[in-house]
Symmetry: C2
């Protein structure tokens, strides 16, 4: 079986193969291995973000678990709407408010305790529409892109609006991406040393929201090297696509790809309309102008989800 077996022959697949061939073959476009950095958005690019991102489902379940200890949430927004199941009310507040609500429900424990909470949830919860574990609503064609790039000595990074410590629980087992290659939104933590035991405590305050113009900022801060390949699916990825592909002073070749959600049957179809996460409006207009490849989920992908589910290691 050749490379990228879940991709149909077509412009998108060919563009990936051509780019990788070009930067790994001796010649004017050759790029040294240490410069082969590829960045991937997560929600909507590596796994499903509809009807809401997976972390929003987690936040919702966690809110319900914590609600008995927080009677004040019954009368305070956005907790009130969320607990009442009014997703539209919550969605109206926008992604940043959601992130803050998420952070608030994710704080007050140590980093080690948080990992256990997320791990337990990932093993019990299922996507309500797709009826699969969340760690298997990942995109098989994108797993193949990750593996294909790594086989050519690319370093693969996630650069996501999602929480870093949420993603790290499963990303190494599910995507093969280790914790130090995951960039995302963060909440503040602080160090405590009690009884000879050091801990980091998660505080209910946003440290950094890794979306839109924040993505190149975070890429520079965490990775410190301009990626030569960038994969996204929404206008939240626009600035990192720009940062990767336009006006590079180093003159390195570069590649940008947008996963276009066109498949209402196998997954979801959405682009320009307002959604909690994943709106693709400017990117649809700019793709041709900037040379970004549009991958049409319906036409370009033979399969969407893996036949056999991958799971995070429950050790």
């Amino acid at each position: 079986m050749g490379d990228l077996p879940s991709w149909n022959e077509g412009r998108a697949k060919q563009a990936i193969v051509d780019f990788v061939g070009c930067v790994t073959t001796t010649g004017p476009d050759y790029v040294s291995e240490n410069e082969r950095v590829a960045v991937f958005d997560n929600d909507g690019t590596l796994w499903c973000e509809m009807p809401v991102p997976v972390q929003a489902f987690f936040a919702n379940d966690r809110l319900r678990a914590l609600a008995p200890k927080h009677p004040e949430w019954k009368t305070t927004e956005p907790f009130k709407s969320q607990l009442a199941g009014d997703m539209k009310g919550v969605m109206a507040t926008g992604l940043k408010d959601i992130a803050e609500l998420t952070m608030a429900t994710h704080a007050g424990m140590t980093t080690d305790e948080f990992v256990e909470i997320v791990r337990d949830w990932l093993f019990s919860a299922k996507h309500p529409k797709l009826n699969r574990a969340y760690t298997s609503v990942i995109y098989q064609p994108m797993l193949e892109v990750l593996e294909y790039l790594r086989a050519q000595q690319f370093s693969t990074f996630i650069v996501s609006g999602g929480g870093v410590e949420f993603m790290r629980v499963f990303a190494e087992d599910v995507y093969g991406i280790p914790p130090q290659q995951i960039v995302g939104s963060t909440i503040k933590t602080h160090f405590e040393f009690d009884d000879g035991k050091p801990v980091l405590v998660r505080d209910p305050a946003l440290d950094f929201f890794d979306d839109k113009a924040g993505k190149p900022v975070a890429i520079n801060k965490y990775i410190g090297r301009r990626p030569i390949a960038c994969f996204g699916n929404s206008d939240g990825d626009r600035e990192m696509l720009m940062w990767t592909t336009l006006g590079r002073p180093d003159g390195l070749p570069s590649f940008g790809l947008i996963v276009h959600h066109t498949d209402a049957e196998r997954e979801f179809a959405y682009d320009r309309q307002h959604v909690l996460s994943g709106q693709l409006d400017k990117g649809l207009d700019e793709a041709e102008k900037y040379g970004w490849v549009l991958a049409d989920m319906k036409k370009d992908w033979k399969t969407v989800f893996p036949a056999t589910a991958k799971t995070a290691n429950q050790s």
Copy 2:
């Protein structure tokens, strides 16, 4: 030639070799390759930080270069003292103020421009006492530790109070540590897109000061995995030594080492006294209690600096 040739036989060298042997050999203390994370402080651990850290020399030179455009600095502290050569006046303000002064003199240009400024400086400046390029006031025995660990599939990270974007200019060529494995202090940046050319602009505001209790916070945020080995030299490294070696819920074996600057002849001798950067007071008292190895620069190191200087690639 065996491993760690610039280390004299003794407790420190033996402790390093024993630890690495133990975690890489099948048995109860074996640690899988992806968990082999080692963190290194930079100033005073990998290179000389006396009489002031290298980045302070850079800041000073940069201040002088920029002074003609900033007449107000003649009457404003800490610029006034710095320009007058009153290092004691500047040192009295403490490391965090110095960092802010440093950041202020490092801002107002793009990240690409900053790299060029640092690179040019590194190639023209020399350490005033040691009369060597700054990229060669690095410690040969520590270079050997880095190589020794990497040969055993450790990932080596810098976790320093120094500026991330300053260190990245030379750390890959000089230490073999790539940009994405460098954690440090950061200033704020913002994204701009002008004329089809995206840039990141460095703003005169501290984003994060990576020292003391900030080090485990940064390790968690950037690396996302608890190191099993930590190398430092001052009380600024105390909390990351604790985070590495004490009360680990994962039960993994761990190692902490403190470079003790005891060699006034070949380098500098300092520990408990107040210095701008590098005070080692609590650590001297706690090393035995917590099992941290003290490496005595005078006794344990055959040589201090490399015979042939390494330089950052001026391409």
